[in-house]
């Protein structure tokens, strides 16, 4: 009754390769579209220790591709949910929760504790940071990235092979259209690319097959075109000795103001969803009635007092009927806040539908 029976009886794998998996330590950057399949299959196959670097919470828009999470998980931190679910799949794996974004402060120390780094991030800043930290710490990097219906997979910095900068020496200009996928993605694409990343990770650890060293594989899922390009290592790109001061990493979320009904707001409260309710009405309106807990900043002061707003959780903006709050929400999105919700119908709708004890005006 051996969990890994199908791998230990597999010709070319066997107990020897299984033992290598069990001894391996893999760090996965991101538990989103790519990270979920990578984590699921590496966990199932029996990697010894898997670290997960992620600081995001679950949003409903994640669920068309991040199949590890549940609808009821909205607002909860991905990394703890992921570790819990993956433990249920395979408790023989040690999952290490790194509930943080990858930064120039933590990258080198984190990477040093693992054998292989898997880049499942979603923005150029983090991708260049991952590359440079892999070069400095001497770790192989299993790379995957997606765009609309296309994906790229490679293994960088492995056995003196090419790095990410050998393909793309510099990141695109910050803030342009390429960063984060506001353009959308078909849900199954990160499944395909993430599975390939898990497969390449197993190859790097066990030595089976031919990893994509000095190669870039492009996959077009609309037409099933798979091309493999040969890359040459550029020696200068392996001479990095220190991280840059700033990689301009971005937190990717769906752009634009999202709508939240009062029913959904009540649900968030009930579920203890992590979010901030921002009430932008004037002080006299606030005194008539308000929802607890909420943060009260009148509309005219919000932009001056932006520093008081949390950057790492959803903000639901509330006013009397939902009009002022929408204007504030749009300004917050324009200022770079992610996951901004407008409470449709405002506190009046709340009084009518949810709290009939509340005074209306």
């Amino acid at each position: 009754m051996d969990r890994y029976d199908r791998q230990t009886r597999l010709e070319g794998f066997g107990p020897q390769k299984q033992a290598l998996l069990q001894q391996a330590k893999v760090l996965v950057i991101g538990a989103g579209g790519l990270g979920v399949p990578v984590l699921q299959y590496l966990t199932a196959m029996g990697i010894g220790r898997i670290g997960i670097v992620e600081h995001d919470t679950v949003s409903v828009t994640n669920l068309q591709r991040q199949v590890l999470y549940h609808t009821a998980d909205q607002g909860q931190p991905k990394v703890t949910l992921a570790a819990k679910r993956l433990q249920a799949l395979n408790p023989e794996v040690t999952h290490v929760v790194h509930d943080t974004w990858l930064t120039t402060e933590n990258a080198l120390e984190l990477f040093a504790a693992y054998d292989v780094i898997v880049d499942c991030s979603d923005n150029f800043g983090t991708r260049y940071l991952v590359n440079d930290a892999c070069v400095i710490t001497g770790k192989p990097l299993v790379y995957g990235a997606i765009y609309k219906y296309e994906g790229q997979v490679s293994v960088f910095n492995y056995q003196e092979g090419a790095t990410y900068r050998c393909l793309f020496p510099e990141p695109p200009e910050s803030g342009e259209m390429l960063n984060c996928s506001d353009i959308g993605v078909l849900g199954v694409l990160p499944g395909i690319i993430g599975c390939y990343q898990a497969n390449e990770t197993v190859k790097v650890i066990t030595g089976i097959g031919t990893p994509l060293r000095n190669q870039l594989m492009t996959i077009d899922t609309l037409h099933n075109n798979h091309l493999v390009f040969n890359i040459s290592p550029v020696a200068a790109n392996r001479q990095i000795t220190a991280l840059q001061a700033n990689y301009e990493q971005t937190v990717c979320e769906v752009a634009g103001v999202q709508s939240l009904s009062v029913d959904e707001l009540a649900q968030w409260q009930e579920n203890n969803t992590h979010f901030t309710l921002l009430d932008v009405r004037e002080i006299d309106e606030w005194e008539i009635c308000h929802i607890s807990p909420s943060l009260h900043i009148p509309m005219g002061e919000v932009m001056q007092r932006m520093a008081a707003l949390p950057a790492d959780m959803p903000i639901a903006v509330l006013c009397h009927h939902g009009m002022r709050s929408r204007a504030v929400a749009q300004r917050l999105v324009a200022a770079g806040f992610k996951r901004i919700y407008n409470v449709e119908g405002g506190i009046h709708a709340w009084a009518c539908a949810i709290d009939d004890q509340m005074q209306t005006y």
């Binding site: 990270g35 765009y147 695109p172 200009e173 390429l178 984060c180 990160p190 390009f229």
Partner: protein, 77 residues
């Protein structure tokens, strides 16, 4: 063989396959032509050009029968 376009290059240019203009004779002149004809590509800064499925430096000559690919960086995850 033409020029295969990937990712955002396909979107900026609007097609998946381009014909190579006669004046493009190496990777440097290919890039110069692309940046001029499609200024939106300039924001990419880095853009991999492959000739016959191999990464090509600026000096690489492009012949008529070569397969050329333009592969921009992709960040999505």
């Amino acid at each position: 063989m033409g020029i295969l376009l990937f990712g955002v290059a396909k979107d900026i240019i609007g097609v998946a396959l381009l014909e190579k203009p006669a004046q493009v004779r190496d990777v440097a002149s290919l890039k110069a032509w692309l940046y001029e004809a499609y200024p939106g590509l300039r924001q990419l800064k880095s853009m991999m050009i492959a000739v016959n499925r191999t990464y090509a430096a600026d000096s690489q000559v492009i012949n008529e029968q070569d397969e050329v690919a333009v592969i921009p960086p992709v960040s999505g995850g």
